[in-house]
Symmetry: C2
Subunit: 107 residues, 2 copies
């Protein structure tokens, strides 16, 4: 069970679940209504997301509300950051080139 956060967000249903509960905590049943699948399938996804600590449960009677654990999401952000730096650098370089051209036009 070498489950990491990148594997967790690889599935489109799980990504949709995360977006949904980002707005408000939801139960498996109410989540399942948003998808063309059974509650059990959603439950399985929620288990995976819980294992990755991307969501946490809040018991309320016999209902379980799942809510987002936003902090874990920062790990993905952190990984993407190294690439963000690359395209920002390239943009800055392009910017330099453009301003050089501008200067040359002025002269």
């Amino acid at each position: 069970m070498r489950r990491d956060i990148f594997q967790a967000i690889a599935d489109p249903t799980r990504r949709a679940i995360l977006v949904l509960i980002a707005a408000q905590a939801m139960t498996p049943n109410s989540l399942a209504e948003h998808f063309d699948t059974t509650r059990q399938a959603v439950s399985k996804h929620l288990r995976i997301l819980t294992e990755c600590e991307l969501v946490k449960q809040e018991y309320q009677g016999r209902e379980i509300y799942y809510q987002l654990e936003i902090n874990k999401m920062k790990e993905v952000d952190k990984w993407v950051e190294q690439f963000r730096k690359i395209w920002e650098d390239r943009f800055n370089q392009l910017d330099k080139v453009l301003s050089t051209i501008k200067k040359q036009k002025k002269c």
Copy 2:
């Protein structure tokens, strides 16, 4: 073959490949040296990454250099952004609370 970029970066080897070629374009053989696996396995990963347009090939004689296509990576960044907004908002709210406490202390 419903391969999307999130599935592509779900595999740790593929993530490592992306980081490696971010620094400089590399051939399948030189990439394989960095992992405990065969060239063919790396080649398969590269094929998936190519299909997702995360890398592109540059033929040079009988060698094929794979280089990063940074633009595709922005799709992941875009998806994470909606969550980034959430934790930034929460941080700002915390900031407000802290400054309110500060003010109360002053009075």
